[in-house]
């Protein structure tokens, strides 16, 4: 019956701590429910993106047509010079920066600094929206050059299919993230997280932990982009 709870000051670290956590009663992880849920959701989502990327690799390796050269396809012509991967580099930079602003928002959230949290959340949302906007621009350019889900001028038909499906699926994730960032900004601004006002739909009390839970999702979406970037644009 004397099971130390996870996160107790006296609870052991390392392997022993792991065993203690898992053999405790009531809860395994010393985190709020929402955060535990987000971690498990992310694990499930990891499997979705993994399946997408593995599917992409299989198709790319099994096709008999040549695969279009990414550094040529994704080049922008600036001042008469073709610079490979320029747009993608900027997009990646913006998305990674948004992870930084998100992390700061979480920090100020825990310090209950309402104004700074709201500003940083809004900034994160803006950077995310910029990313989606630039992705839309990239799609437009490629469609203008004749890339279609069923074919393209340079080689294997699967190129367009995989590109639109995977970047589209990721872009949808970013878009949902932006929507929730805006909702969270509104919550923070009107003080719902300070006086623990229940949510409109779920009835769950507002807490600053919610900012961190949303932050987990946002960092995950950014991390997935790094993999898409590596496997799709650099390979």
């Amino acid at each position: 019956m004397v099971n130390p709870s996870p996160g107790d000051p006296g609870s052991p670290h390392g392997m022993k701590g792991l065993v203690t956590d898992w053999s405790a009663d009531r809860r395994v992880f010393d985190v709020p429910w929402g955060k535990a849920m987000m971690w498990i959701f992310i694990l499930s989502d990891v499997f979705i993106f993994a399946c997408f990327l593995v599917g992409y690799m299989v198709l790319r390796m099994s096709t008999v047509e040549p695969w279009p050269d990414a550094s040529e396809v994704f080049a922008l012509t600036v001042g008469g010079q073709s610079i490979p991967l320029l747009l993608i580099a900027i997009m990646t930079f913006i998305l990674i920066s948004s992870s930084g602003t998100m992390a700061l928002a979480v920090k100020y959230g825990y310090e209950k600094d309402r104004r700074k949290t709201a500003v940083l959340l809004l900034l994160t949302a803006l950077l995310g929206a910029t990313f989606v906007g630039m992705q839309a621009f990239e799609w437009t350019v490629l469609i203008g050059e004749g890339v279609r889900p069923w074919g393209n001028p340079w080689g294997a038909a699967q190129f367009g299919a995989v590109f639109f499906l995977i970047t589209g699926f990721h872009g949808t994730h970013v878009t949902f993230g932006v929507i929730f960032l805006i909702i969270m900004t509104a919550k923070v601004l009107r003080g719902s997280l300070d006086d623990q006002r229940p949510g409109f739909l779920t009835g769950r009390k507002g807490r600053y932990e919610m900012v961190e839970t949303l932050g987990l999702y946002w960092h995950f979406v950014d991390l997935v982009w790094v993999f898409i970037f590596a496997f799709f644009y650099l390979w």
Binding site: S23, R26, R27, F47, C51, V58, S62, A157, P198, R204
Partner: protein, 599 residues
């Protein structure tokens, strides 16, 4: 959980445990329709699953009518036969068994057995059910669109699933895809709830190694579902693109109906890999909750602790992990490197080890137990027999060289129906007979239950045993009719007719079960709070059926594991999980004062 402040003081630190925020509805609609109470959601899940399961049962009877008496029933043409096969499979596996075990029993039992007031996220839980209901409606709509439901088989293999000529290739298959996507979205919401509740919201004293095995089975199955359904989601999304956008993920260059298709270079094998990466864990998603529930029913009704509890838990976990590395044994005849066949055959056969541990432990639980042959117990024992039978034929199919001649014959149909259709369904029935008194406060009728058990159990053998012989005779599965097939003996037809008659009798017997459910709800004997004298927390609630919030004023505190049955010296022969040690001592002192001497 604030009411446990005093007891928490004995702990090093209770920490800032989260409070359950319950929404107390006042209207009828709030209580029973848009309900956020896990118990109501469980019943909503259960009734929807049973309703769609009945549809699938009727489909199987239609198939048997054609196979047993070819050409007699003119309404069954080859296309509709294929549609029955496909819809029957998909409904039974995903929309009945997965939804019933996890959405139904999971929702009802997880909060009660873990000793908490509700699921961690009641609103999400409610959404989960409504997504499920919508997915079922979309699935059923498939029957009514032009061209009818999909006839591609439940595996939905491309290219045929979306090629002209396959029934439902224009509309039905699309509705199947959409329905699956909605189902997966809804299941994810529910699944997150089940996992977080089990991991983070248990009662004081309830460690993971004190959880009833039912919860372990449901928990592990949910973890697997959250990792396996993504593969299906991706496969379905890609095939939808192939169908609607003209992409070629899975579609190779080919001639269909004499015309060159618009696709080129896709990989049908990729779909098979993705599908079975979902499909094989899915088998265990259905089986693990059944394993867990059977363990609890056996221990309760044999009045004996479960044999090897720790081994049972580890076996569940190991089966869960291994089930992710065996998927290609469904593809031995699809064409793959022989070394891979060897690898997957090996991993497949390794699963027999933890599974055998479980079977031995069930049998050893019964050994020298005080076996009460109640209806739930009959179903549980029936499960052991059926599961062993199905498992043994699995050893044949798991070996590449034996599988090749048996692939796509009725041997396969017999095998998987024994192991993952009949066996889990027997557990579903056993579990309903076991927990119905807690859900309604009344007992199901015993005589009707026994008739239901014996006809279903023996009938299942009459249906699926002969199929193994059909398989050896080389009868291929999923065929509408065999025509002038030279190598199939005439006697096969007699066997098919026999199977069909048995199937119809078993199907009609289920009406007794449904009658029993309804009749007992109004007229059944009052059960009292704990008719089976079980130890787990759901039987110790203040009210039967439990009210919203489950446990009245105070949440239970857990002092022991779930299997203290047949305890020497105790006044009753069992110790509920939440009986304090002082009460246990007091009870045994009384027994000694009465002059009872216990060894």
């Amino acid at each position: 959980m604030a009411e446990h402040g005093q007891e928490s003081a004995s702990y090093a630190a209770a920490g800032d445990l989260e409070e359950m925020e319950l929404v107390h509805p006042r209207t009828f609609i709030g209580k029973y329709i848009w309900s956020q109470d896990a118990k109501v959601i469980a019943i909503q899940y259960g009734l929807t699953a049973m309703a769609i399961g009945l549809v699938a049962l009727v489909l199987s009877i239609l198939m048997r009518l054609q196979l047993g008496f070819p050409g007699v029933f003119s309404l069954i043409d080859p296309s509709s036969y294929l549609q029955y096969v496909s819809m029957h499979g998909m409904i039974m596996v995903v929309y009945l068994l997965t939804a019933l075990f996890l959405g139904g029993f999971g929702n009802y039992l997880i909060p009660l057995m873990c000793g908490t007031r509700d699921m961690a996220f009641p609103y999400l839980n409610m959404l989960s059910f409504w997504f499920y209901l919508v997915s079922v409606l979309i699935l059923v709509a498939g029957f009514f669109v032009p061209g009818g439901a999909t006839g591609a088989g439940w595996t939905l293999y491309p290219p045929q699933a979306i090629s002209p000529g396959t029934p439902g290739a224009d509309g039905g298959v699309l509705l199947m895809f959409v329905s699956l996507i909605v189902f997966i979205a809804g299941f994810t919401m529910g699944g997150l709830n089940y996992i977080v509740t089990v991991l983070q919201a248990r009662a004081q004293g309830m460690t993971l190694m004190r959880l009833p095995l039912t919860i372990w089975g449901i928990f592990m199955a949910t973890v697997m579902a959250l990792l396996a359904f993504p593969a299906l989601l991706v496969a379905v999304l890609m095939m939808m693109c192939d169908m609607l956008l003209g992409t070629s993920f899975f579609m190779p260059e080919m001639l269909t109906l004499g015309e060159q298709s618009a696709h080129e270079g896709g990989s049908p094998l990729l779909f098979q890999h993705l599908f079975w990466f979902f499909g094989h864990p899915e088998v265990y998603i259905v089986a693990l909750p059944a394993f867990g529930i059977v363990s609890d029913i056996l221990a309760t009704h044999a009045r004996k602790n479960i044999f090897g509890y720790r081994m049972m838990v580890w076996a569940i976990i190991i089966i869960g992990v291994l089930s992710f590395v065996v998927w290609a044994h469904h593809m031995f005849v699809s064409g793959m490197n022989p070394y891979f066949g060897f690898l997957f055959a090996t991993t497949t056969l390794i699963i027999a080890v933890p599974t055998a541990i479980k079977v031995y432990n069930w049998v050893l639980t019964l050994w020298k137990g005080n076996i009460h042959l109640t209806v739930p117990m009959l179903f549980a024992i029936g499960f052991i027999f059926t599961f062993v039978n199905g498992g043994l034929s699995g050893l044949f199919l798991g070996n590449v060289t034996v599988d090749v001649p048996l692939a796509d014959t009725y041997f396969v149909v017999g095998h998987f129906h024994m192991v993952m259709a009949v066996a889990p369904v027997l557990v579903v029935f056993g579990a309903i007979y076991h927990w119905y008194p807690k859900i309604t406060g009344r007992m199901l009728d015993d005589t009707l239950g026994k008739i239901h058990f014996w006809v279903t159990f023996l009938g299942a053998y009459a249906i699926f045993y002969p199929m193994h012989f059909l398989g050896f005779a080389g009868v291929p599965r999923r065929y509408y009719a065999y025509g002038e097939t030279g190598y199939i003996a005439d006697s096969v037809q007699a066997l098919n007719a026999f199977i069909s008659v048995a199937a119809i009798i078993v199907a009609l017997t289920q009406l007794i079960f449904f009658f029993n459910l309804v009749w007992s709800y109004y007229r059944g004997r009052e059960s009292g709070p704990n008719p089976w004298q079980a130890t787990t927390l759901e039987w110790q609630t203040a009210h039967t059926p439990p009210r919203h919030g489950n446990f009245g004023e105070r949440l239970p505190v857990v002092y022991r594991w779930a299997y203290d049955y047949g305890v020497p010296g105790a006044k009753q022969d069992y110790l509920p999980q939440n009986m304090p040690p002082e009460e246990v001592e007091a009870a045994s002192d009384d027994a000694e004062a009465d002059g009872e001497v216990r060894p």
